[in-house]
Symmetry: C2
Subunit: 289 residues, 2 copies
């Protein structure tokens, strides 16, 4: 069995069926150094209990997944979303503080799609900027970085009106980079003819809060949300993207986040082993350290 | 029944199960003024016979669909693809000459995805530019415009390494706009945060060879190629995109091209009637004339 690369982090979405306790155990038993947990599972276990277990595990905390979903127009739904994001920021701070040295307080934001019945993509995108402006002071106070995640344009209507890295960087621009950054995810950005230049910009502006790797393969799954594959199993040029991210000086953990029914149907320990191997072959060779 | 808008053209993909003869009959019986045919059906009917029937129909010819698929590395496959595109150029010239006044000799190009086993997106994109350079003299001689079509990024690996309008315009730039232009298709481009500026650029550079409209709706079909909907049935802001195209001075036919199993299962005459109605409601109000 391959020893896990020291910068590999397992995102809990890869082992979606696990509780927090199980996810931590599987990761530590495999020798992985870091983990990113999902809010639903953390809430099921309780935040304080999750933090205690995380501290006991000795794992670094890489990201908290996830906030966002704030494209609704002003009204009770939008207020509820903003409040929920404030709670997510607080959770992130607690978990990052409980993680081993090197943990990062990064809250990944999937911003949401068009409100039902709306065709106003421009307005929805503006409301993302407004939500970030509203949440930034709370994030700054909590010491948490909001990591805006551009999603693949095939999700533009139903999951993320944020579709390119430049869009995310433009929204982040008014804020301190420690408060608002971006998520660079290979699956979402690989197709972009300007992705290398955009990653370089993200680095220059100090905005890369997390780097996530997974592969793209066709035909896509019938549920295209579940089409994320082990690095190396698809067509993404991990060398080009990883070298671009490394060239910015990003030296944090690198998450593997695989939403994929076949992987979810695998025993979690096996999925982690396969992730370690895939990372070692497809990503690790291009890391500066 | 709504009278068809004078600029509406039926793309044969909308009534995929028709022969050329049937497609022409259905379009003329509905009072539509223009049509775009597909190569497979034209070859089934024979090129000369198709041209004769088109001339008899009194319809304008709006586009010939389609050429492209030339991302292979140098070798027999690439040579075959280039030769096939030369034939497609010749077919386009014959059919456009047979169409009613106002016909355009436009060959739509879907460039193709990554070759099997390749991860070299940059190389594949360069080979698209090389193929265009190789075909441009033949197109110029034949009086045909090659219409590079950026496809939605969800097709970047398997159908089109050309994903944005700027990419298409950059490849077109070295050539006369009457020889190399672009296809503006709402379904493929609606998500782009800069789409309006890019359409403006396409107009400024004289490159809009055809405008195609169809709608985006989620969840996508399991086969995401077949997720194209009647204008108005989804989330695309046809006002914004259509006004942007009109503002460039584009005054040609506007095609409705719907790859959708449910529509293919409809009687062709009914699909055309529904297309006429949809166009009238969702697109026509924003046309300058």
């Amino acid at each position: 069995m391959t020893a896990p690369h020291p910068r590999l982090s397992i995102n809990q979405a890869t082992i979606k069926k696990t509780t927090v306790a199980e996810a931590l155990r599987v990761a530590t038993e495999a020798g992985v150094g870091a983990i990113g947990l999902w809010r639903e599972q953390v809430q099921d276990a309780g935040l304080d209990e999750s933090a205690r277990m995380l501290a006991d595990s000795g794992l670094r905390y890489s990201t908290h997944c996830r906030g966002g979903w704030f494209t609704a127009q002003e009204g009770p739904d939008r207020r509820a979303a903003i409040d929920d994001n404030r709670r997510a920021i607080d959770e992130t701070a607690v978990l990052a503080a409980a993680g081993a040295p090197g943990s990062r307080a990064v809250l990944v934001l999937v911003v949401g799609g068009l409100p039902t019945g709306s065709r106003d993509l421009v307005g929805a995108r503006q409301r993302v900027a407004d939500a970030v402006a509203e949440l930034a002071p709370h994030a700054a106070q909590a010491g948490v970085t909001l990591a805006l995640e551009p999603l693949h344009p095939m999700y533009a209507s139903d999951r993320s009106v944020l579709s390119t890295l430049d869009q995310a960087l433009d929204i982040a621009a008014p804020f301190d980079p420690t408060v608002v950054g971006v998520t660079v995810d290979t699956f979402h950005l690989w197709w972009d003819p300007d992705v290398t230049a955009k990653i370089e910009r993200a680095g220059r502006e100090g905005r890369i809060a997390t780097y996530q790797v997974c592969d793209w393969k066709t035909p896509l799954e019938a549920d295209n949300l579940l089409s994320r594959h082990y690095p190396g199993d698809g067509v993404i040029d991990f060398e080009a993207m990883t070298r671009a991210v490394e060239a910015t000086g990003y030296d944090g953990d690198i998450e593997v986040e695989l939403l994929n029914q076949a992987i979810w149907d695998t025993a979690p320990a096996l999925a982690v082993t396969r992730t370690i191997d895939a990372f070692d072959r497809a990503v690790a060779p291009f890391l500066a350290k």
